[in-house]
């Protein structure tokens, strides 16, 4: 893909930018906490864009005042899953919103094989297109 050299996964915020540093991640978390959003750490090795429900690392963190605790969890998660995608989401529980406000990647596997285009022939001469992550050919935990 011409627009995405190196097959870097582009999901959520800041994904076209260089990797965020810990200081930048902290600043983003601070922004979320300032608005009273609950911050979670999630991970997965199936980065298909329709896979919205990633595994949670630990419990969602409510009532935190300071980003240090969340950064601690992020680093724990990186240590446990060094070759998984890890993202930080900020959930806004305000009535009428009740959904994530922020979501950005904080860790990605060293080698990202990317996605292939799959063509399926259907009725008539129609073709259905979908994408398929090369990594998911292997079983869980052996993908990256």
């Amino acid at each position: 893909m011409m627009t995405n050299p190196g097959n870097r996964l582009t999901q959520g915020q800041f994904s076209f930018l260089p990797e965020l540093t810990d200081a930048q991640i902290t600043a983003q978390i601070k922004y979320a906490l300032k608005h009273g959003w609950a911050v979670n750490v999630e991970y997965t090795d199936d980065p298909h864009p329709r896979n919205t429900y990633w595994e949670m690392f630990g419990m969602p963190m409510f009532d935190l005042k300071d980003p240090a605790g969340i950064l601690l969890e992020i680093n724990n998660c990186r240590k446990t899953f060094p070759n998984h995608y890890i993202r930080v989401t900020a959930f806004d529980s305000a009535r009428g919103v009740e959904s994530p406000r922020m979501s950005y990647l904080v860790n990605r596997p060293k080698k990202e094989p990317g996605f292939g285009l799959v063509r399926q022939e259907s009725e008539g001469r129609n073709i259905r297109y979908t994408i398929h992550s090369y990594a998911t050919d292997k079983p869980e935990n052996e993908r990256y």
């Binding site: 419990m59 240090a68 605790g69």
Partner: protein
């Protein structure tokens, strides 16, 4: 947490620095004055807080000259009898540390054993960690900390909680300040069985009991904060009440005084209610009269009020 100052001064030895200006910038004097004004007595506590404030201030100036030193350990242990103001001081501590740039948020998270120790295997660690994460950037205040360790039950999960705490107190010194509080003798026993805990706590502060005249001053402050006042006679009556109450059992310093005042307010309301029909002034509503105090059983029978056998456990009579 402490970042090197951007506008670091050149490394000359003769560059002057204005301690006075530094003090003004940090606004810490304001907090210390407030502490002096609102906390009666507690000499050793105030001295220690002053020392800590001075240390942090000097540390800040040293950083301007690029004289680096490790961030000081500020974990504390408050010991003292019930009602001597341990929680109040802990709350102030957060504010002071924030003004001095040591704590980022300066909030206080108060927990007891229940909040830290879980009920089954594997429950304790996440519970303790959650509390620690909440307290980061501020002060974690563990009330009656000696209950964390129960030597008579070797399968108690308290030890696990202590272990996690110790680790965090060492590794995340910059992120949170842990304050343990409890009665002196029990805390000593607790430290005896957890020497690691003792060595990680730099400041052991003992809260002395209040004297009778200090308690009277506290009572007046408490009333003023609730927009009440003593009449002259009532103040005399209360001054008599305090030594009598101090002799009785379950005396809990300032907490007993607060309970006595709550009961006096009750009687005052009753008295005002009894003389319905007469016009009341604002002064009447504010003033506690001697009758409101002398009606206490402490005077009549030398016994605790029936409705107010407040104890060291801090139950507030209704």
């Amino acid at each position: 947490m402490i970042e090197p100052d951007q506008d670091a001064l050149p490394e000359t030895n003769d560059a002057l620095i204005d301690l006075e200006a530094e003090l003004r910038d940090s606004n810490v004097q304001e907090v210390l004055d407030k502490l002096d004004r609102e906390l009666i007595g507690l000499k050793p506590v105030k001295t220690r807080i002053r020392e800590i404030a001075a240390l942090l201030l000097v540390d800040r100036m040293r950083r301007k000259f690029n004289l680096t030193s490790a961030a000081p350990t500020l974990h504390m242990c408050f010991t003292g009898n019930p009602g001597t103001g341990k929680t109040t001081v802990a709350m102030r501590m957060g504010e002071i540390l924030k003004r001095l740039g040591y704590a980022r948020e300066g909030h206080l998270v108060t927990v007891t054993r229940d909040d830290l120790v879980g009920q089954y295997i594997g429950h304790t660690a996440p519970k303790t960690k959650e509390v620690i994460k909440k307290a980061m950037g501020g002060v974690l205040f563990i009330d009656e900390a000696y209950y964390l360790y129960k030597p008579e039950n070797e399968r108690d999960y308290g030890a696990e909680s202590i272990e996690i705490l110790l680790q965090v107190m060492e590794n995340n010194r910059d992120d949170l300040v842990v304050i343990l509080a409890g009665y002196k003798d029990k805390m000593d026993k607790f430290f005896m069985s957890n020497p690691g805990m003792r060595s990680r706590i730099a400041h052991h502060v003992d809260f002395p009991d209040y004297r009778a005249e200090e308690l009277l001053a506290i009572a007046k402050l408490m009333l003023a904060s609730q927009n009440y006042r003593f009449s002259n006679e009532a103040e005399k009556a209360f001054a008599e009440y305090i030594p009598l109450r101090m002799k009785l059992e379950h005396f809990a310093n300032a907490r007993s005084i607060r309970n006595a005042l709550d009961r006096a307010r009750l009687r005052q309301a009753n008295r005002l209610f009894a003389r319905r029909g007469q016009a009341l002034t604002k002064m009447d509503l504010m003033t506690i009269e001697p009758d409101d105090i002398r009606a206490s059983r402490v005077f009549k029978e030398g016994a605790l009020d029936l409705d107010g056998d407040e104890g060291a456990n801090g139950t507030i009579p209704v």
